[in-house]
Symmetry: C2
Subunit: 197 residues, 2 copies
């Protein structure tokens, strides 16, 4: 016999399917639903269904959006594009308030081990945007790992002949961190890219 | 302007209302829903609504149950009752496979600071059960803090004249822990309750 009766067990299973949620946490979430009002549970359920019904990909950048063109693409400088791997990377980038350009989500990066080639991510769409909007600069903000680097290099090679400036986020030691605890690869990169002060 | 559009923001808010969930975690959960199938989202939503529709309190013990009388009360020894503060305490107690009695949920404990008196928790129901079922022993498994202790003492005083044995979970140092790190109150209790070997 399972630990809980069916409706409780099933809700626990759904909570467990969320990223990083184990058995105990899922139980706490389920008990929270049980202990709160029916109205709140119904609204919660509605919010889950709504998000799937209303949220789609922005036709321009590929970010999640409730409208055909997302608010960022509607309002900001189209001539500056920051290319990211996933929609969640946009959340991080948006903390930098000084950036006034738009984004382009690749949905992954070139990764032979996962059988992901250039045609499996949104590179074609990026090239089309660059041509259509007379983009001046493309910032490659793919992850600083092997696959992210390779993807950045690949995209740069395609974009440069189109006369667009392609840049990459700077790599080095984190602000506020300790040199003592920086890993050697990061330190080597920081040394190579050292700048005159 | 908020960071996300309305349907996403609203779902994030609902996830944030779960215990121990902060902004970042709620965002990850919401993105997980967006990235998964519509069918899964609908089933998740249904599981939330279902649990509120089907789960009620067991008429005997007060634990969450999908039936009028919960499976534990239906099948186990009615003459041995373990009294706990909250339904989630039953989950912990049930890990002790050797316990074959039933439970009684008080839904809290006597706590003057929170204006909770004996009539605000399910003590009346406990007395009625003891009388009705000819209970032989009541184990008080309220928390080992001031309020839990006081509640255990209060209930014991009411039960003893009814000729029922009232016991309390033993308190002392945890199995597998280090005496070095045990707090002084626990150590004092362990010393007082020392047993001959």
């Amino acid at each position: 016999m399972s630990e809980f009766e069916e409706p409780i067990e099933r809700l626990i299973e759904y909570f467990r399917s969320l990223p990083g949620v184990g058995k105990k946490t899922a139980q706490r979430y389920a008990f929270h639903i049980i202990e709160n009002s029916k109205e709140k549970a119904e609204n919660f359920a509605k919010a889950i269904v709504d998000v799937k019904e209303k949220v789609r990909l922005c036709k321009e950048c590929g970010n999640y959006s409730a409208s055909e063109i997302c608010p960022i693409c509607q309002r900001r400088n189209q001539k500056l594009i920051c290319v990211v791997q996933e929609p969640k990377d946009i959340i991080s980038m948006e903390k930098v308030k000084s950036f006034d350009g738009v984004y382009h989500v690749l949905f992954g990066c070139i990764n032979p081990l996962e059988n992901k080639g250039p045609n499996d991510i949104r590179i074609k769409e990026l090239l089309a945007r660059v041509q259509k909007n007379g983009v001046q600069e493309v910032i490659m903000a793919t992850n600083p790992d092997v696959e992210g680097e390779a993807t950045a290099m690949y995209v740069a090679k395609l974009l440069k002949p189109m006369g667009v400036k392609v840049t990459r986020l700077a790599q080095g030691i984190s602000i506020g961190s300790d040199i003592e605890f920086a890993d050697e690869v990061t330190l080597e990169k920081a040394l190579k890219s050292r700048q005159e002060i």
